[in-house]
């Protein structure tokens, strides 16, 4: 299984969270929003200007900048 950054996932790709790293405040926020190990994430689209990304996880839609998505390590499925 290949581990990659969430920011590198293509549109319409699906993945599972492996680990969230990065700065403390952002990490905490992402954890609270459900970026815990095993959570499935679907990359729905990117904004017209290519950033941020729109993700679907745990049944809701979330928008995240690539900058922050870099800190989420995922495995592609």
């Amino acid at each position: 299984m290949k581990i990659m950054k969430l920011s590198d996932l293509p549109v319409k790709g699906t993945c599972r969270v492996v680990k969230v790293s990065g700065e403390k405040a952002i990490k905490k926020r992402l954890l609270e929003m459900g970026f815990v190990r095993g959570t499935e994430i679907y990359v729905k689209k990117v904004a017209p200007l290519a950033d941020p990304m729109e993700l679907v996880l745990k049944g809701f839609h979330l928008s995240l900048r690539r900058e922050e998505a870099k800190d989420v390590l995922v495995e592609k499925i």
Binding site: R29, G34, P52, F60, S63
Partner: protein
């Protein structure tokens, strides 16, 4: 027996959980909007009645958690801990249980008495989600009530349960512990043991909660402990050991382990309570979104909607604006005719009525603007606008949501700054407010029209456009500069929910409009009233036999500042116009009228004024003056809301200082640079 009992209930819930709808349904029109002490987070309070209970309802800010990550979370958490409400109602979006329950786990940890309002239950059923609410209540240790906030369904049951929980008559109500697993639980116990040595702490808080928060690196709890506890060293040492131990044994930081465990707990709960659950159907919301955030259409649609918003605000707003203006004219005329001549009459008519009246006419515009904004917010489109424009705003070091207030600034900075309330992060809000006055509002347009029309003839339109663009470019530069210097390293992460599209509820839109309108009116009654009196005083004193503006205090100040303005190409008359323009920028034009003595209602008034101006200024000086008008001190109304929204006079004064400096520099560079190039 009929004795009234008073209890206090707090509403907690995620953003977009329909919390405000529940609040409105609970309290009806019986509510009050204010600010939480010390911060500019909106505080809503209201009253509800149930049996012989008089219930005070406090609407906490919408939060995803209680980690003191943002101002809102801190406010919500402090309220629950320090104000100790009798019952907390946790409003949950039934269609999005998993993430909404995360906040519930935090309430469980705090050990508060709580009731869960399973809101939007109609929407959930429509989606095919069926939940065993009895089971859910058992597992969470708090009763669960199904509600539909928008239609007032379940509200009485909610109040009944809240009262039952308060009276400890609800059998489902019990303390439960979320199990974090053997290793972590052991460390929690060790920290608890260290905490328990301190009597003051154990009396005020649940030690388990404190221990969990300390394990999570919660800065505020840690600071609290350091401030309050006696044996701080022992506690801090224990925390460090526990962190190291957990990381060594479990291979992850404790925050991750704890969040994992909470979501694990939620998963376990959901596994038991979902009777039926539909999966990933393409919803209407998704279909709307494929158009509104489309790669090609997204931006044009957003701009189109904003265009409609502004057009409506100004064209539709004109009618009531004219009516209010007319009414003020009548009041003014009535007072002129009935009051005895003298100082008091002058103060009332020329100071108060014309000053306050000049601002109050904007009330319809503000209400219309907020009609659109609350529709954008309530439908969920605002989040999409932020999503679409975030890339652009990010280059300014701002959040996507800042785009809307920036655009609103073209209409009126006052309402734009009031609109920054939708920004959750304090730094974003500060920065957006500080650079907002650089976006040229409509009140400055008359000044440009007069000067550009006088000096630039056929090129007037291009010159005005250039002035507007200068404002935008300066906003970008100043924004970046402030982000790199004053607000360094405080960038908020862009983690924004895109809620499903929903139909807006007329009632909540109306409440929102009324709230904003009344905030504005209170401002008019306060700071603007005071400012009008000051400006009137400066312009009409000292009294002389024959009135000449240049002899008034305003005139004297104008002459006093003239040497500073000299290098910019305009003299004391410009100085007076700019000083009076602080009250409201349109006044610059009418002051010119008074200064060049062109009379009130003559037909050739405009032409006379233009001729007089041509004698006094070069085109280059006029351009320099326009730029100065664009940048210098925001008007009194804007300063008033800035002070209110920034929460301190310090920042408002900073805005005055930086804008004056910047205005001078820009005008100087343009005027002197132009002279060097041989332009006149």
């Amino acid at each position: 027996m009929n004795e009234k009992k008073r209890i206090k209930i707090a509403l907690a819930g995620n953003p977009n959980s329909g919390k405000s709808c529940i609040f409105n349904a609970l309290t009806g029109s019986n509510q009050r909007v204010g600010n939480w002490a010390g911060v500019t987070v909106e505080k809503k309070e209201g009253y509800a009645k149930f049996g012989n209970y008089e219930i005070e309802v406090v609407d906490l800010p919408g939060t995803y958690s209680l980690t003191a990550f943002s101002m809102e979370e801190l406010v919500a958490r402090d309220f629950i801990i320090k104000e100790d409400p009798d019952v907390v109602i946790n409003v949950i979006d039934s269609t999005n249980l998993e993430r909404n329950l995360y906040l519930t786990t935090q309430l469980i940890e705090l050990g508060v008495k709580a009731v869960v309002a399973l809101n939007m239950s109609d929407e959930a059923k429509h989606k095919g989600i069926i939940i065993d609410i009895r089971k859910l209540g058992e597992l969470l240790g708090m009763p669960v009530v199904e509600t539909v906030g928008t239609r007032g369904i379940g509200i009485q049951d909610l109040l009944r349960e809240a009262v039952a929980v308060h009276e400890s008559k609800e059998p489902l109500s019990r303390h439960i512990h979320i199990n974090y697993g053997g290793e972590v639980e052991e460390e929690i116990k060790k920290i608890q043991a260290a905490l328990k040595k301190d009597r003051d702490l154990t009396e005020a808080f649940s030690t388990r909660w404190l221990a969990v928060k300390l394990l999570e690196h919660d800065k505020q709890v840690r600071d609290d402990i350091i401030a309050k506890a006696g044996a701080t060293d022992v506690i801090l040492k224990q925390i460090e050991t526990s962190h190291a131990h957990i990381e060594k044994i479990l291979g992850d930081e404790s925050e991750i382990i704890l969040a994992d465990a909470r979501y694990g707990f939620i998963k376990g709960v959901l596994h038991e309570v979902y009777i039926h659950r539909a999966f990933d159907r393409i919803t209407i919301s998704d279909r709307i979104d494929t158009i509104l955030t489309n790669r090609l259409l997204g931006i044009p649609i957003l701009l189109g909607l904003l265009w409609v918003m502004f057009q409506t605000t100004f064209t539709l707003g004109k009618y009531p604006m004219g009516m209010i203006g007319g009414l003020i004219g009548h009041i003014s005329a009535f007072l002129s005719n009935t009051m005895p001549d003298g100082l008091i009459k002058d103060l009332v008519v020329n100071g108060i009525v014309s000053g306050v009246g000049g601002v109050i006419v904007f009330l319809p515009n503000i209400m219309i603007l907020f009609f659109f904004i609350s529709i954008f917010e309530d439908t969920g489109y605002m989040a999409r606008a932020a999503f679409i424009m975030d890339r652009v705003m990010h280059t300014l070091g701002l959040h996507g949501k800042s785009f809307i207030p920036m655009i609103m600034g073209f209409g009126c900075n006052t309402s734009a700054i009031m609109g920054t309330r939708m920004l959750e992060n304090k730094t974003d809000r500060l920065l957006t407010i500080l650079i907002n006055p650089l976006i040229s509002c409509s009140a400055r347009l008359p000044v440009y029209i007069l000067l550009a029309g006088t000096f630039f003839g056929r090129n007037a339109g291009n010159v005005i456009f250039a002035v507007y663009m200068t404002g935008i470019v300066l906003a970008i530069l100043v924004g970046r500069l402030f982000r790199k210097t004053i607000f360094k390293g405080e960038a908020a992460p862009f983690v924004m929910e895109l809620p499903p599209y929903r139909l807006p509820l007329l009632k909540s839109v109306a409440i929102h409009m009324w709230e904003k309108g009344s905030v504005f009116l209170r401002k008019v009654g306060g700071i603007i009233l005071a400012a009008s009196i000051v400006v009137w005083f400066l312009m009409s004193f000292p009294r002389t036999a024959e009135y000449k503006m240049e002899q008034s205090y305003a005139g004297q100040i104008g002459k006093f500042v003239a040497p500073v303005l000299e290098p910019l190409g305009f003299g004391w008359k410009g100085g007076i116009a700019l000083i009076t323009g602080i009250a409201a920028k349109e006044i610059v034009v009418s002051t010119f009228g008074v200064l060049y003595n062109v009379g009130e209602n003559e037909v050739d008034r405009m032409e006379k004024l233009q001729n007089a101006l041509r004698k006094d200024m070069t085109p280059l000086a006029a351009l320099s003056f326009m730029l100065f008008t664009l940048i210098y001190i925001p008007c009194m109304g804007t300063l008033g809301v800035m002070y209110r929204e920034l929460g301190s006079a310090k920042w408002a004064l900073f805005a005055v200082g930086y804008s004056l400096t910047l205005a001078w520099l820009v005008s100087f560079v343009v005027y002197r640079g132009g002279m060097l190039l041989g332009v006149r």
